[in-house]
């Protein structure tokens, strides 16, 4: 059987594609700066050095702004290839370092949110499908509709209002209690307490999405012939649902989860802003406020790479779950 080879080929094809997309995003980044009305040097400098003529001239020279466009692109690509995403003249730090400092926090937040979303979403979706048309289903459906209509940043604020301001159960802002001097497990618990609200708020939208998706997929798979075959074999209802219905219904959920990664990262910008969570989303907000465009563009590149990595992950999961991928080319 050529199955294994075909799967390897499938994965490598995806990798090549990912690299091409990253390259394209970097090129897009370059042209975005050039297309901006006004002086690109101003964009690069942000508000930091606009007044200083000498500084601006140096900047133009460093980025080759006095040279033809293709040369500028080459210079830019060279920089990015070396891991240099530019310098934040506002924060007086390289963008790469700024992002590297913030990335782990964002990964923690988005990872937790995604885990919550998948676990609860699939559970609720399965429940809704099993009790389709009944009370539990209606409630889940109505809740999902509400969540879809609610801006996440407002939901975050409302959560703060309720759980932090009124009830005082959970911390208001930030990732850890300032100057607490906590270590080890105590620190982890402190971070966990800070993580609950932002992660749930960020994940809730995706809980609703996966619940809806799982429900729809299960209702569809339920009608397929092989489910009837499974029943005709005399299998118990539980086995029919888990092994035959849910297993096939999860395929679209998995592939859709990959497509959602971009929204998750986008949502993180808002949630981190609301909860003052020190991740790259918050960094993006600070960059917007400070007109620090170099940082903003760096965030765009890094978040795109995050999405690509997540997509690759879901692709691999998909190949592992669905034997049909790869064998038919």
């Amino acid at each position: 059987m050529t199955g294994v080879l075909a799967r390897v080929a499938f994965v490598s094809r995806r990798l090549v594609k990912a690299i091409v997309v990253i390259f394209a995003i970097i090129v897009l980044n370059f042209f975005l700066v050039r297309m901006t009305p006004g002086d690109p040097a101003l964009v690069i400098a942000g508000e930091a050095g606009a007044a200083d003529q000498k500084f601006m001239d140096d900047l133009r020279h460093e980025f080759g702004l006095d040279q033809p466009l293709w040369k500028q692109l080459a210079v830019y690509l060279g920089h990015v290839a070396q891991g240099d995403l530019g310098f934040s003249y506002r924060q007086r730090l390289p963008v790469t370092q700024l992002i590297a400092d913030r990335l782990p926090q964002t990964l923690l937040l988005t990872g937790t949110a995604m885990a919550i979303a998948l676990a609860l979403g699939i559970a609720f979706g399965t429940m809704a499908a099993m009790y389709a048309g009944r009370m539990a289903d209606t409630m889940i459906t109505v809740l999902a509709l509400l969540v879809f209509a609610t801006p996440s940043f407002w939901l975050g604020l409302m959560a703060i209002l309720l759980f932090s301001v009124k009830l005082d159960w959970l911390p208001l802002f930030g990732m850890a209690t300032v100057d607490s001097g906590l270590h080890g497990l105590a620190l982890a618990a402190d971070i966990g307490r800070h993580l609950i609200l932002p992660a749930v708020t960020l994940g809730l939208f995706f809980v609703a999405i996966y619940a809806r998706l799982t429900r729809a997929a299960m209702l569809e798979v339920r009608e397929l012939d092989f489910v009837r075959t499974a029943r005709a074999k005399g299998l118990g209802e539980r086995r029919v649902v888990v092994r035959h219905i849910l297993r096939n219904a999860l395929l679209p959920v998995v592939s859709y989860a990959g497509l959602q990664a971009g929204y998750l990262v986008g949502g993180a910008v808002l949630i981190e802003t609301v909860f003052a969570w020190p991740g790259i989303g918050r960094l993006a907000y600070e960059a917007v406020v400070g007109r620090d465009y170099t940082v903003l563009l760096g965030v765009l590149i890094i978040t795109s790479i995050m999405v690509i990595a997540f997509n690759a992950l879901t692709d691999i999961v998909y190949v592992l779950v669905d034997p049909r991928i790869g064998s038919t080319g």
Partner: protein, 558 residues
């Protein structure tokens, strides 16, 4: 009748309130004896599948509900069993196989696992013994290399192989009763015959009863001991196969039997020897690339491989072949929906094969097509009038004139003029096919290519549409190319037949010659596989020696 195995008494199943009639099934009685094969025959909507599903309690919940009657099996009423008791019977004592062998198997679970599940649900068993049992079952249903096949996924298998897997699964616990719901309808004729023979053989070995559901009286004659005919939820006739076939009582049964295409090649008027050739192909080739990847070279499949045929005015040429034979591709090459990779299409001196889109336009109207799918071939958003008039309007005829011509055409194809402003969904499958024929005729073609024009229709409607096509060919002295998988259909209306197999024409000659003296082994196999051939020939006259259906050994696709 032998001792009863299953007896259905007064079974009534309600349809949802929105349906066009109150009951899917009303007061149905049916007895299946031990070691007996009973065929339940009917057209779509007759309630035959509902009966099958009711026996195992598999009716879709909420949509179909049993409102009366009893189903006795082993001294108990199946309708009164608890879900658990019913489950113990399913797959173990009574098992079932379905029409679509692809859809009936879970795509993400290996074949072996799916059979194992069926066994384990009723009989706990160690892994080694289980594997051994599965491999024996796979061997029993004639599948090659059971140890390998056990690990295959359904998409690795061909349609016939999947149905064999379904049979192996259904038989895994030696049930007394097998319910087979149109198990061969989705298969090619030669595969159908192999599966029928397999079922018959196993039924005799294992002394099972079979409830066999079908719409095809040909299949009935191959397998049934007794027949019950269903119509709109009512049983209209029941008897031994011989009784029902030779002396049907109910008019509906008579109509059904009469609608089975006869093998008799009707004596046709004959085409004058000097009738001009309308279209001829020479060495036509179409290759499809199966997309590969950088590890596996892409493969090329020759769907049509050097086909040369010609059609004369007033003649019907049949192209007969099984799925994958390239017959539909050939049709689409001739009407130039596809571009041939090599070869010529000589249309009265012009080679259509090489013409580009613009150059082709003047010839478009002269070669028209009637399609297979009565639901897909008419734009659902257009009125019947607009559909039929569209061709002439593109040719520059005024809308008003085109519409009045459309009205005449509707009458020609046996519909009312009042159909003009209505939409396709208001018509039945057979009526839609008539509309499709009218559309093709509207541009006054010289050649009509009909691609499986009746295969999606119920048998009784099939005969009418075929007759209409034949009439029209005669009245308008059209040339007609009829694509079909059904030799019986071809026998009825074709002057000459070309048999296609794997892209090539393997036999090409007059219909009479082909049936009386088939030359090629494949043609012989095709004729031998016609369900009900013995019966049809007994009716028609002197029987011919029946060639054995050897059937190429199925091999695992990778």
């Amino acid at each position: 009748m032998s001792k009863p195995l299953l007896s259905i008494e007064g079974l009534t199943v309600d349809l949802p309130a929105s349906a066009d009639r109150p009951h899917a099934l009303e007061g149905m009685d049916l007895v299946i004896g031990q070691r007996e094969v009973v065929c339940l025959v009917g057209e779509s909507g007759s309630g035959k599948s509902v009966t099958a599903q009711a026996v195992l309690g598999l009716l879709p919940p909420g949509r179909l509900t049993v409102s009366g009657g009893a189903i006795h099996y082993g001294g108990r009423d199946l309708l009164k069993l608890s879900p658990l008791e019913l489950r113990r019977l399913r797959g173990a004592r009574i098992s079932m196989i379905f029409q679509e062998p692809m859809a009936a198997l879970n795509p993400v679970v290996t074949v072996g696992h799916q059979i194992a599940e069926a066994i384990r649900a009723h009989e706990p068993m160690g892994k080694a013994a289980l594997h051994d049992r599965i491999e024996k079952l796979l061997a029993m249903v004639g599948l090659p290399d059971p140890p390998l096949l056990r690990k295959a996924y359904p998409h690795n298998l061909s349609g016939g192989q999947r149905q064999r897997v379904m049979i192996a699964m259904a038989l895994s616990l030696s049930p007394d009763l097998l319910i087979a719901d149109e198990p061969t309808t989705a298969l090619d004729v030669t595969t159908q015959m192999q599966i029928l023979q397999l079922l018959k053989q196993i039924q005799q070995q294992r002394e099972m009863g079979i409830l066999f559901i079908t719409h095809d009286f040909g299949v009935v004659t191959e397998i049934a001991d007794r027949v019950a005919v269903l119509r709109q939820g009512h049983k209209v006739e029941e008897g031994t196969t011989r009784e029902v076939l030779t002396a049907p009582q109910h008019p509906y049964t008579k109509a059904l039997i009469a609608a089975v295409p006869r093998l008799t090649t009707t004596q046709r008027a004959g085409i004058p020897a000097d009738a001009p050739t309308v279209l001829g192909t020479k060495g036509l080739v179409k290759t499809y690339g199966l997309s590969g990847n950088f590890l596996r070279r892409s493969r090329q499949v020759r769907a049509v491989d050097g086909v040369s045929i010609s059609i004369r005015r007033g003649e019907t040429l049949g192209i007969v072949g099984e799925s994958g034979s390239g017959k539909s591709t050939l049709a689409r090459l001739i009407v130039r929906l596809y571009k041939p990779d090599a070869g010529a299409i000589d249309f009265q001196g012009v080679d259509l094969a090489t013409l580009g889109r613009a150059d082709l336009r003047p010839y478009r109207r002269r070669v028209q097509m009637v399609f297979q799918d009565p639901f897909g071939s008419l734009n659902p958003r257009w009125t019947v009038g607009d559909i039929i008039a569209s061709g002439p309007v593109i040719q520059g005829v005024s809308k008003q004139k085109a519409l009045s011509r459309a009205a005449e055409l509707l009458e020609l194809v046996g519909l009312e003029r009042t159909a003009l402003p209505r939409f396709p969904h208001e018509f039945s499958g057979g009526q839609r096919q008539r509309i499709g024929i009218a559309r093709a005729l509207a541009v006054e073609p010289e050649l009509l290519v009909a691609d499986e024009p009746v295969s999606a229709l119920d048998v009784s409607v099939q005969a009418q549409v075929l007759k209409l096509l034949d009439d029209i060919r005669h009245r308008l002295s059209l040339a007609m190319l009829l694509i079909t998988h059904d030799l019986r259909v071809a026998a009825q209306v074709c002057d000459r037949i070309a048999v296609m197999h794997r892209g090539k024409v393997v036999e090409y000659g007059s219909t009479v010659d082909l049936f009386t003296r088939p030359q090629h082994a494949y043609t012989q196999q095709l004729i031998g596989s016609i369900p009900g051939r013995d019966w049809l020939e007994a009716e028609a006259g002197p029987p011919a020696a029946r060639p054995a259906v050897s059937g190429s050994k199925p091999t695992a696709r990778t």
